[in-house]
Amino acid sequence: MESLGVDIKLLLAQIINFTLFFFIFKKFIARPFSKFLKQEKENEKEKNELLEKAKKREEELALEEKKMREKLKKEYEENLKQMKEEVENLRKKMINEAKDEAEELKNKAKLLIEEEKERLNNEMKSKIGKISLTITEELLKQVLDEELQKKINQKIIKNLTKKVN
């Protein structure tokens, strides 16, 4: 060995030195590092999982939001439609009421006009009657002279028997 240039002691020392280095490296550097790597990997995995979950949840929330929005929109539209119908019904009802009221007022006015017309007509008839009678009386006073009156009286006297019976 010595002829080969290998120093046994040095080799042994190097072997021991290497072994020690190996053990120390393994125990204090390789293991914690490996553990750290493993931990990091697990953390990464967990992070990814959480991210995935979060993404999924986000998607779910977005879907729910969409559904909710659709539902709200639908409800809003339904409410709007209902309100429109109610407003339309109310409008129709008010128009009908106004029409009825107008019709009633019209009928009342018509009735009043008819009554007034009737009253004026009667009044006019009465006045015409009175005037006609007055004119006739005046005319008769002028026309009936004593001779005519005698003739009238003769006729009355002749018919007196019928009148008294």
Binding site: S132, L140, N153
Partner: protein, 91 residues
Amino acid sequence: MKIDFRLKEELRRYLEKKIKEEKEMVTVISTYPLTEEEINQIKNNWPAIYGKKIVNIVDKKIIGGLIIKFGSQEIDLSVVNQLKNFRNLFF
């Protein structure tokens, strides 16, 4: 209020006399004074008043015709009355 008996009796007698007179009297209202002939014609055509006293009153307001009053009866044959009836018929 008490009314004196004598006064009552006098009033009764006066009213009876008036009624008797009314019964014996016929009032004829005309626009001109009736002739004796006309009065006799009236008496002849209404036997109930024959022999009764006839009083003729002239009233121009009746326009024409006659009104004969006898007792509670009144026969209105005046032109005014005819016109009134005519008016009542139409108005």
